[in-house]
Symmetry: C2
Amino acid sequence: MPRVEIYDTTLRDGTQGEGISLSAKDKVKIALKLDELGFHYIEGGWPGSNPKDLRFFELIREHQLKNARICAFGSTRKSGTAADQDENLQQIVRSKAPVATIFGKTWDFHVTHALMTTLEDNLNMIEESVAYLKQQGMEVFYDAEHFFDGFIANREYALATLQAAKKGGAARIILCDTNGGHLPNEIFDLVSAVKQVIDLPLGIHCHNDSELAVANSITAVQAGVIQVQGTINGYGERCGNANLISIIPNLAFKCHIPSLPEESLAELTDLSRFVSELANMHPMNNQPFVGGSAFAHKAGVHVNALLKNPQTYEHLEPEKVGNRRRVLVSELSGLSNLVYKYQESDLGLGLGLEKEDNRKLLDELKELENQGYQFEGAEGSFELRVRKAFYDYQEPFTLESLKVLIELREGTVYSEAIIKIKVNGQVMHTAAEGNGPVNALDNALRKALEGFYPEISSFQLNDYKVRVLDEKEGTGAVVRVLVESGDGHSSWGTVGVSPNIIEASWEALVDSIAYGLLRLENKGELATDQIINGFIRNKC
Amino acid sequence: MPRVEIYDTTLRDGTQGEGISLSAKDKVKIALKLDELGFHYIEGGWPGSNPKDLRFFELIREHQLKNARICAFGSTRKSGTAADQDENLQQIVRSKAPVATIFGKTWDFHVTHALMTTLEDNLNMIEESVAYLKQQGMEVFYDAEHFFDGFIANREYALATLQAAKKGGAARIILCDTNGGHLPNEIFDLVSAVKQVIDLPLGIHCHNDSELAVANSITAVQAGVIQVQGTINGYGERCGNANLISIIPNLAFKCHIPSLPEESLAELTDLSRFVSELANMHPMNNQPFVGGSAFAHKAGVHVNALLKNPQTYEHLEPEKVGNRRRVLVSELSGLSNLVYKYQESDLGLGLGLEKEDNRKLLDELKELENQGYQFEGAEGSFELRVRKAFYDYQEPFTLESLKVLIELREGTVYSEAIIKIKVNGQVMHTAAEGNGPVNALDNALRKALEGFYPEISSFQLNDYKVRVLDEKEGTGAVVRVLVESGDGHSSWGTVGVSPNIIEASWEALVDSIAYGLLRLENKGELATDQIINGFIRNKC
């Protein structure tokens, strides 16, 4: 099988997704990452429509790319304007990208109802625009917008537009399901029909409006296209573009068709999260292949079988895409899940508990989940609870009192936290400010503990999430705070639940520090003179 | 085309999704809704594995269903136990559901490695379990677990398991892609192969691990299955089950194959949100067909064409699935979006602004979005900004000072808010408690305003969401608060942004009340004697 080219348009079509916005610098970071992993083409933006996009092309020229060719996007020239006078085409040339990808109209209805011009004029616009960009030394890809709708509506005209692009000198013709409305069997039949008459390498560009973009892209490859366009995590307008993060492993592991270099496949989970972080989108937990739940098992009967053999309930080894297996504890859990959870514990919780104790712990966890706790993603709080319940664990400090003040004076907000804690009999009473109440609390807690545990200066809060439960209650609702902390090497999650956001945050922050200290102690990295007598006696 | 049966397993397989948990009462509410819309089968739970599920079957028996038949789920009998002695089968019978759906092993590898029994023993288990349940008067569906993997591994044995179910008297055989690893072309070929040798109505049950569950389900129908199993919103273990909310309209509008009654299709958006609310899952904004973004348009060029003709960029009329078109304002917007936004405004903002003003407003909105504001979902705040910028709008009150205190004393947390506001020269200085700081703030604000605007007692907060932006900053990060308010008839969204969660909440709460009052005033429902002189002069 020949290698399929992967054409990423996260930086252009992806940014049309609701809630997604990338700075020019973020775009460069993403482009460099894609290049490193061997993506073949990276569409950087639409210089004629968005000044930020021009900045991207300037910045990326300062880098020597190893694998990818950068593409500038735009439309065919305007009706009534010569190609060399068209502002949009000029901007594509000014981008100095090696590749130009321009879209034009395939669907006769669009030519007459959106462009408001004649069918023949549109053919000239396509041919002349492609030819002009080619004369400027660019490789030109032609995106046939609404190809499938157009082909169904007027087959002869749709094919004429592709011939116009070919005559202009296009290197690839990309068939676009712009509205995302077509079915895999239609895609297969129509791609096959085009292959019979158009003698040029073809590509596919799908949207996910019918939840079929991944299937349609793969089907198009099976019908003979050699380029797949899509975005990381399927970001894009409306319901998104075709999700490359699913298409690439499906091609590699299911169809045995190569695209990215093999060693890049195990980087897909990282890539997905890297892009979601820069795009400031929450990673989708149930995302195929790379989501936190993609290889997470909850049903007791599954976990039981998995303990015997992972192949029983997994379509792929999670490591192949850089993901990992997780087992969840919940009301649907049997003892199998708890046993597995112990086995994967970072701190080496043994299998030493009696069956009776396991049952008790499971009941306690279920009760906490009823209250709104969620230990999926908060493994730190889970382990602390297990240790408190069954091992000789003592907290590194106790809270005596806590006060938070927020005041708005003359247009400025002040936040202050006052806390009194006790560490092994010694009391520390201190206060700190912050740019919000939780930040003030965090600062005060660290200030109070630093003298006892200097290691906590290496702990950072990576992520702070607030989820309002029972949202019908408005601001009176219970909130769950999830905190993700790290020390540069690894990370851990903790959780707090309360109707009071400050109390829930406090709970998660305290667990975060307690668990971080426990990890250090367990690895023997807590200097002995800093271990307060009686604190950590939980070796098991 | 014969009607395809829709078999919903949200209440059983759906609840295995991470973060999903439904009470027995919630399950009944969902079942009644599905019945009302004409779903053919509703799988209520696995009575043998979960006591909560038995409670569901008791509760649902109190209702007379109009369309659906309730199914109880379970496994074939244990190896070495007679069917009439098997606890799991007994519980299915005790559920008194009219239909039993039992799963058994198809894949030889599973029989020997998970069940740990012989291939022949497994055939007996299948046949005897089906026969026993049938003798008890139930209609029996047989779920062939891992059918596709099993068929590829050992075709002869896989078919023998189906023959065993048939001999036992199964009314349907459901082919399951349990691990979610197969491609549409495989599904088509294998379903076709089974149809040639098994003379029983077939069903399909897909999982979404390869992002192909919707495509696979539709392909199976095209290959001849007459029942599709799936869940609302695709909830389910790992990456979820096949999403019925996408499958149903794809079958109806793309394949022209009927399943639910036609009048139910326009209820799909409501159904999707109803279930996500009960499951306490955030609705997925980019969900095909029913998501808030599914028919949302951001790119200027699209909006421009849409204004001319909606068919240009929509694969389906949103009303057909009960959804609606939205146009977003963002840095990618052109003036077209702003014009469209005015047109759809509840408050009848005219087209009266000068082009220059529109450009200025667009720039201001882009700058606010850079700071973290998001007007998608916060149309109330958007309209208030437009009115402040260009119309003679005056706020209904101004803030003089604000203080919030949170204190932990003897294990209890106290939250108190003190505010001083001014309404048309009159000062109101008051305080209130709450079960958290934002709730205290909300209570104090309402207390202060009630005397001036008694209507606000009908406003409720429906939803309060906190999103931490720039999460790398931990608790020092900027937060965005989105508030959704309602008055029983309709709802509106407002937004606040600040590094301080209290300030961001305050901003969104103030907008919420101001916008609610503006709506009443606009509809002439604000009693004239309650309109403070000079407040609302923004008729345009």
